[in-house]
Symmetry: C2
Subunit: 373 residues, 2 copies
């Protein structure tokens, strides 16, 4: 039985996100658990004359890799895979975890080594600009979210605006108001974030705010930049727990001096946190300040792709910054951690209140009430 939302999602990804057209080679990377969506995307790519290059992985394959790989396997990306990425014009990636905690017992050093190895792939993908990451609802994700699969599907597809008649139109429309917000923030030097156990100032002077509206992530809804590398001063509490790299990390607290993390703790997953911060030189500096604008997401679900878009949250990623923001921080790490500002939070740009208690001031980006929940 066809799910019309999958057909719609396939069209959004192919026609809107990467604007695939005749002759484009498109790497269609994904987990086999996303079979129904991947097949829809495959069909749509063929329909528009693009050339799909499937790159599928089984659940459990990473566990096998970490169990069996030799040093040489961490040294370089298989050239045959690197070559395929180099030749491609665009990328669609579909995650579909069957177990969000499958890697909880893996040595973080191994995960970082693989991350370092794969950095050139990330750079190829991002450098080609036409790429999008999405996620297919699975039982594991539903479980992580305390929902049934049917509830979680509804949650996921609502966040992607697939219940709209014209999802791409919805994202295009949303992009306009986000653009106004991005332009306002670009005029600012200092951003000040106040919230529960959080008081952080950082500079974004001269940096570009990117308007995230479904061309790289689905769901989307954020504006983000790379802050001035040595500017962060203060402390932050990331109250939104996360299942990251196959394990849970929650209750993270960081303190920054001259941009650098000088104190760090986590209520759960502290070993992984500390190990990530020590992965390389750049991992203790911020690579991203992002502001979520998606009020179609009712609550956090320990899932970065969704939680960082949640209207009324901000995220501050440690590690690599995106070149297009003007950010210059280099790292094999890029880990978005999320602070909820919906209860007692304030966001200022050069002293002007931009957001209070998770609601924007002067920008019509929706709210919990408006989203009709």
């Amino acid at each position: 039985m066809k799910d019309v939302r999958l057909e719609k999602l396939a069209r959004v990804l192919v026609d809107y996100s990467i604007e695939a057209s005749e002759g484009d080679q498109v790497v269609l990377a994904g987990a086999t658990g996303a079979e129904p969506l991947i097949k829809e995307v495959y069909a749509r790519l063929l329909e528009v004359g693009a050339i799909p290059v499937p790159q599928l992985t089984f659940p459990g394959m990473q566990e096998i890799f970490f169990d069996k790989a030799h040093d040489l396997h961490y040294e370089e990306i298989p050239p045959a895979i690197l070559g395929a990425y180099e030749q491609a014009d665009a990328f669609i990636t579909v995650s579909a975890p069957q177990n969000t905690r499958a890697l909880a017992g893996v040595d973080p050093a191994k995960q970082q080594a693989l991350g370092r190895r794969n950095q050139p792939l990330q750079e190829i993908v991002i450098g080609k600009e036409r790429w999008v990451l999405t996620q297919y609802p699975t039982e594991a994700l539903a479980q992580e979210s305390d929902m049934s699969l049917a509830e979680y599907e509804e949650f996921s597809f609502s966040a992607m605006a697939l219940n709209q008649d014209d999802p791409a139109g919805f994202w295009r429309e949303k992009a306009k108001e986000q653009q106004r917000l991005a332009e306002r923030l670009e005029q600012a030097d200092e951003i000040h974030i106040l919230g529960p156990e959080t008081d952080l100032k950082l500079s974004v002077k001269g940096r570009t705010f990117i308007n995230g509206c479904g061309t790289h992530n689905m769901p989307c809804g954020e504006v983000f930049t790379g802050p001035i590398e040595d500017s962060a001063e203060g402390y932050v509490y990331y109250g939104v727990p996360t299942a990251v790299a196959g394990r849970e990390v929650s209750g993270v607290r960081l303190r920054f001096e001259r941009g650098k993390v000088v104190e760090a703790s986590a209520e759960k997953g502290e070993e992984y946190l500390l190990s990530s911060l020590d992965a390389d030189e750049g991992a203790r500096f911020l690579g991203e300040l992002g502001i979520g604008t998606n009020y179609g997401i009712p609550r956090a679900t320990k899932n970065i792709l969704f939680d960082e878009k949640l209207g009324g949250t901000v995220h501050l990623a440690i590690g690599k910054s995106y070149e297009m923001t003007g950010g210059t921080n280099e790292s094999s790490v890029h880990w978005d951690m999320i602070t909820d500002l919906r209860e007692g939070g304030e966001l200022y740009a050069d002293g002007e209140l931009i957001q209070k208690d998770g609601e924007f001031v002067g920008f019509d980006l929706g709210s919990a009430a408006k989203a009709g929940r």
Copy 2:
């Protein structure tokens, strides 16, 4: 629950068939239905230090391709995929059909066009010499064979000698006697095949007989060559029905004059047969004469990979011959069709009886009785 036979099969494929070793890039191509085996092979490749390059496909993807593809999709192999094959050192392919008749309604011309497009891939794989094709038991294959899945698994794994303590040792041992047979046949000029509705003479003068013992197919057990292209004279009845290219073809009768098929009919699938014969210039000529030597396969199951190995059968493929045999016939088609000689068949090499009623004369390659069935 681990199936020890899958671990054994993975070792046979990795260690024996392609002799993978440190640093080898190995394309691991397969259907997602073969997940348990593919994961075992992936693990074993990592263990020996080889670099697996998975190339997985979903069931139903070919149907989508034939439904949606434009002309341009039939024109060239996606360069990103071709590049990966060019870079690889060896290839392991695992088929796992979920429906052996899924393509019954597809225009054969489309299948041939895709076959022509993919010919360079085949040539790369064969040219690199280290490649093996196997099959994972599925419900669809069991159904095609009138068996339960458990029965079919037993059937498959027995054919691969996985019930032996040392399957690779078994194949190495078998190779010795097959070598004697191959050398005897290489001395011959004329092969004469007599059987039900079958009386065919062809020349193999100066051609090489390849000893098929698990390095390219698993299961294996055959010796084969490429006959002299214009030598086939007579007629043949392929009594073994086959599910080929997603449809059934059975009861094929061919008549040859000066090597060329001049009359052809099929009880089922005649349209596909005729279309294949007209695919190109070389499709009406024989590309292979093969003699099955696997008496661990008790009966035919409409499955070429197994049936062509069946002890007591011969196969005569229309289309492309393998270069290593000395054969020179070119075609995008290579279709092995199988004649059962176990009831009233005779096989002669320059007038000397080599096989009668499916039992070899003077070669100890096992028989139905010896196989312990």
